[in-house]
Symmetry: D3
Subunit: 134 residues, 6 copies
C-alpha cells in the first residue's frame, strides 16, 4: 500500500503529464522501485501539489531550470509537454527558453529550442487526422 504522499504525487503527475509520467515511473521502477516511489512522493507529492504557486508558474520554473542544466534533455522534453498540458502556449515556452540565453548562454538555449521543436512536431503528428499521415 502506497503512502498518501504517493497518491497525491501520482495524481499531480497524471494531471501535468500522464504519458511521460507513467513512462518515467515504469522505467524507474525496473531500476530502483524505491527511487521510483520517491520521485512521485517528493517532487510531485511534496512540492508540485502545494498551493503556494500555481502549476503554470511551476512549469515556467522547471522549463527554465532544465534549460540551464544543459544535459537534462529527456526531462526538458517531458516538461515542455507538461507546460503545454497546463496551459502555457508554444510562444510562451519558446520565450522562456529564449530568455535563458541571457542567464545560461546561447548553446543551452539553442539546444532547448531544438527539444521544444521536437515536442511540438510530435504533438502535431499525433493530433493530425490519420488520412494525412505519411
Amino acid at each position: 500500500m502506497k503512502s498518501e504522499r504517493f497518491d497525491l504525487g501520482f495524481r499531480t503527475l497524471m494531471h501535468i503529464n500522464e504519458e511521460a509520467g507513467r513512462e518515467t515511473y515504469t522505467s524507474l521502477k525496473e531500476i530502483s522501485p524505491d527511487f521510483a516511489d520517491m520521485l512521485i512522493e517528493f517532487p510531485f507529492g511534496d512540492i508540485y501539489s502545494r498551493q503556494q504557486l500555481d502549476i503554470r508558474s511551476r512549469e515556467i520554473a522547471t522549463i527554465s531550470a532544465l534549460t540551464v542544466l544543459g544535459y537534462a534533455t529527456p526531462q526538458l522534453s517531458s516538461h515542455i509537454h507538461a507546460g503545454l498540458n497546463v496551459g502555457l502556449s508554444k510562444e510562451e515556452i519558446l520565450e522562456i527558453i529564449i530568455q535563458m540565453s541571457v542567464y545560461a548562454g546561447f548553446p543551452a538555449a539553442i539546444n532547448a529550442l531544438s527539444a521544444a521543436k521536437g515536442v511540438f512536431d510530435e504533438r502535431a503528428r499525433v493530433s493530425e487526422p490519420e488520412g494525412n499521415a505519411r
Copy 2:
C-alpha cells in the same frame, strides 16, 4: 546618443528594478562602457521588453535560472527584488526556489533561500517607520 534598443531596455530595467538596475549599469560602465550598454540592449531591450511573455513569468524564469546556476548570488538578489516589484509574493518566490531543490539539488536551493531572506529583511528595514528602528 543611445539606440532605440537601449532606451527601451533602460525603461524596462527601470520598471523591474530601478535601484539595482542603476547600480549595475553604473558599476559596469566603469569597467566596460560598451558591455554596460549591451546589458541594457540585449537582455532588457531585446528580450524582457517582448510581449510573448508577461513580466511576472519572466521573473519566475530568471529566479529559477539563477538559483540553478548556484554562483550568481548578486544577480539572484537583484531579481528577487525585481520579482517582488512586478507582483510576485514572498511566498511565491520562496516556492520557486524550493522547487529548484528537485532540479538542482538542496545546496542550490538553501543558498538561494538565504539570499531571499536577505532581500526580504532589507526591504522590511527600509519600509519600517523610523521610530521603530533599532
Copy 3:
C-alpha cells in the same frame, strides 16, 4: 506533531552532524518552515537512513558531489565535519577532494581543500586545552 520520516531524519542528522544540523534546521525554519522539514524528511529521513549504503560511504559520495558543484562551500564544510564524525580520517577527506581534480578540475579541488583546512583548524582550536589558546 512531526512525521515518522522527520523523526528518523532528525536522528540521522543528529548522528552525522549535530551542530551544523541544528544550525541549518533552525536558520531554514525562519525562512521556510515547510522546507526546513522537507530537508530533514527527504535527504535524511528517506535517503541517509537507508541500509543500502553505510554512512561512511555516503559521506564520501557527498563530499565528492559538493566539491564538484563548486559553489556549495557552506554545505561542503558541514559534510567535512560529518565525514570526520562518522569515521573518515583527515587524510581520506583530503584524498577524496584531491581525486576530484580529475573530474571537476583543479579550481574546484583547490577551493574544497581550503574549506577542509578551515574545518580542520576549527576542530583543532575547539579541542585544544584552554591554557594553550592565544
Copy 4:
C-alpha cells in the same frame, strides 16, 4: 619507453577496468598520444594508485562526481563497471546515485540510474550461458 608513473597508472587502470581502460586509451591514442599517456599518468598513476584511500572508496567518489556532472555518461558507465569490479554491489551503486538527487537534483540522478541499468544489463548478457541467449 614509458615512465614509471605510466606503468603504475596502467596497472592500476587494468585492475579497476581492463576493458574500458584499454578502449579509452587506444581511442585517445589516435587523437592525441600525449594526452592518452597523461590520462594514464596523472589520474591513474598519480592519484588512484595512492594509499591514502582504498579503491572502493575512490569509485564511490568518482561515481558521485560523474553523476553530478550530468554530461559525462560514457565515463560514468565505465566507472560503474569499475565499481562493480572493485567490489561495490549493484545496490550500493544505485544507492550512491540515488543520494545524488539531493545534491544535483533528480534529472542527474535519473539519467545516471539509466546508465547503471545499461551497465547491469550488459554484464548480465555477457555472463549468461550461451544456450540461454536470445
Copy 5:
C-alpha cells in the same frame, strides 16, 4: 529589411563558419525567427565583429568555453570548424582542449577531443580526391 547589426553579424558568421552558420540560422529560423536573428545580431554582430580581440583569439576562447560546458557538443564541433577556418592548427585546437582537463576535468576534455576527431575526420573525407573515397 534586416538591421545593420544583422548584416555585420551575418558577414562575420559567414567568414568564420559559412556552412554551420547557414545551417544553424536556417534551422533556428523554423523554430523562432526572432531568436535566429538575435543569434546573428548579438553574438556575431555585437561581439565577434568588435576590434578589441582578433578572431583567432575569439575562437580559442569559445572552444575553451564549450569544452568546459560539457553539454554543448554541436556548438563545439561547429567552433572547431571555425577555429580551423580562421587559422588555428589542429595541434593548437587539441592543445586548447587538453588544457581544459586542468580546469574542467578529464571527462570534459576527453569528450571534446572526440568531437575534435569527428571534425578532423569529416574535413579529411571532404578534402580527399574522389577516387580515393570508399
Copy 6:
C-alpha cells in the same frame, strides 16, 4: 629532491605569475604537500610548458574557462594577472570575458568583469609612485 616535471612546472608558473604562484603553492603546501606538488607538475609541468600552444593563447583559454565555471574567482583573478604578465592587454582580457556572456550567460560575465576590475585596480595602486597615493 623534486622531479624534472616539478622544476619545469615551477619555472613555467614563475614566468606567468610569480606572486600568486608562490602564494598558492605555499598555502596548498600546508594543506596537502603532495597535491601542491601535483599542481606544479601536472598543469604547469606537463601542460603549460608544452610547445603546441603559445602562452598568450593558453591564458586566453584559461580566462575563458574560469569565467564559465562561475565559482572560481580566486583562480580567475590569478589568471587575469597572468594574462597581463604574458602580454594580453586589459582590453583583450575584458573582451574575452565579454564574449563569455554568449556562452555562459551575463551573470558569469558580469562577475568576471568585476574580478578583472579588482585586478586592474590592484596593479594600478602598486605601480603608482608613492607620492601620488591617497
